[in-house]
């Protein structure tokens, strides 16, 4: 069947009318289309409804769409602002991180420099102290040597003195005592 045939059949079907047989069964004039009056009244009612919808529903819908659009736009703007803020914060954090890295590097450098200075000073002080200790030890050793020498000499002198006292006292018998006295008298007697 070609297209013209289809259209012709459709026109014929649409143009069929309602027929009520004797049994009361209703048979429309078309198996698809309603009655003409129904079409007219239905069409008018549809137009009224469409008009009412257009007149009263559309502004509300439009307003709702606009509000939704505004809300979505606002959310988009907020999201954009948040994104910008986050980006700014990220930049700040990155900068802070960079600053922290720089500060860490500076602190490490300072600490290293101070440690180096302390180490150098410590080494110098240690060398000085070791030198002083060595000098003091040498002085102590020399003093101890001298002291021991002095003590030894004093002890020898003491022992020698005691030995001299002992030997001389032991050798002075009565005859020697008398001889010493006589010699003294004789020696004093010739003085004038």
């Amino acid at each position: 069947m070609n297209v013209l045939g289809i259209i012709a059949n459709t026109g014929r079907v649409l143009s069929e009318e309602v027929v009520v047989d004797t049994d009361g069964n209703v048979t429309t004039h078309s198996w698809f289309l309603p009655e003409t009056a129904e079409i007219i009244w239905g069409g008018l009612a549809s137009l009224i409804i469409f008009y009412a919808l257009y007149k009263f529903g559309w502004p509300q819908m439009k307003k709702s769409f606009e509000a939704r659009t505004a809300r979505i736009q606002k959310e988009l703007d907020d999201a954009a602002a948040d994104t910008s803020s986050a980006a700014s914060e990220a930049a700040g954090i990155r900068q802070a991180k960079g600053d922290i890295e720089a500060e860490r590097s500076r602190i490490m450098a300072d600490a290293k420099a101070q440690a180096e200075v302390i180490l150098t000073d410590g080494r110098a002080r240690l060398v000085t102290e070791v030198a002083e200790l060595e000098a003091r030890s040498e002085a102590d050793i020399a003093a101890a040597r001298g002291r021991v020498g002095d003590e030894l000499r004093a002890e020898i002198s003491r022992l020698s003195s005691a030995a001299v006292d002992h030997v001389v006292s032991g050798s002075l018998d009565d005859a020697t005592q008398q001889e010493l006295i006589e010699n003294f008298i004789a020696r004093v007697g010739v003085q004038s």
Partner: protein
């Protein structure tokens, strides 16, 4: 004790001894007592101990000198000890001896020896000292073992030292 007080005591003792007519004897005994006092720590401590009553100290003197020295000497020493001046006994007695010698125009010659001198040695030593110093001397002999040997004579400021002690000291100095 001040010099004035020592001088006063010595003058008092001298005058008493002279009044008693025993100055030579008393002076000699006091001199020997003074030297004994100097050489004996025990005697010195006993006579200078303030814890011992004066009467007890005086009885020590009487026990020590009684019968060995004249009563004048004993009384004089006892008087000094009883008055609490025992520490100054040697100084007082030395002043008294000097005063007694001076009264006779003599210079005190203190002679220290390790052994006692005979009378002959004392006489010859006195003559020798007169010859050496040009002064008349009142010889006072002290037996001092620390001299070891020989003689040390002191006449005024002059010291004539012929002691073994001094020679040993010189040797020790060189050592």
């Amino acid at each position: 004790m001040s010099d004035n007080r020592i001088e006063g005591y010595s003058r008092a003792l001298f005058e008493i001894a002279r009044a008693e007519g025993t100055i030579d004897e008393v002076e000699d005994e006091l001199f020997r007592f003074a030297r004994s006092y100097e050489n004996s720590d025990e005697l010195r401590n006993a006579l200078t101990d303030d814890q011992i009553p004066a009467a007890r100290r005086q009885s020590i003197i009487e026990d020590l000198l009684g019968g060995k020295a004249t009563s004048t000497t004993t009384q004089l020493v006892s008087m000094v000890v009883g008055s609490g001046r025992a520490r100054d006994l040697p100084a007082i007695i030395d002043k008294l001896v000097a005063r007694a010698s001076s009264a006779k125009n003599l210079e005190v010659a203190e002679v220290r020896t390790a052994v006692a001198l005979t009378a002959d040695q004392q006489a010859r030593l006195q003559a020798a000292l007169v010859n050496a110093t040009g002064k008349q001397v009142n010889l006072k002999v002290v037996v001092d073992p620390s001299v070891i040997g020989g003689v040390v004579a002191t006449v005024g400021d002059t010291v004539i030292d012929g002691s073994v002690r001094t020679r040993i000291d010189q040797l020790k100095s060189r050592l």
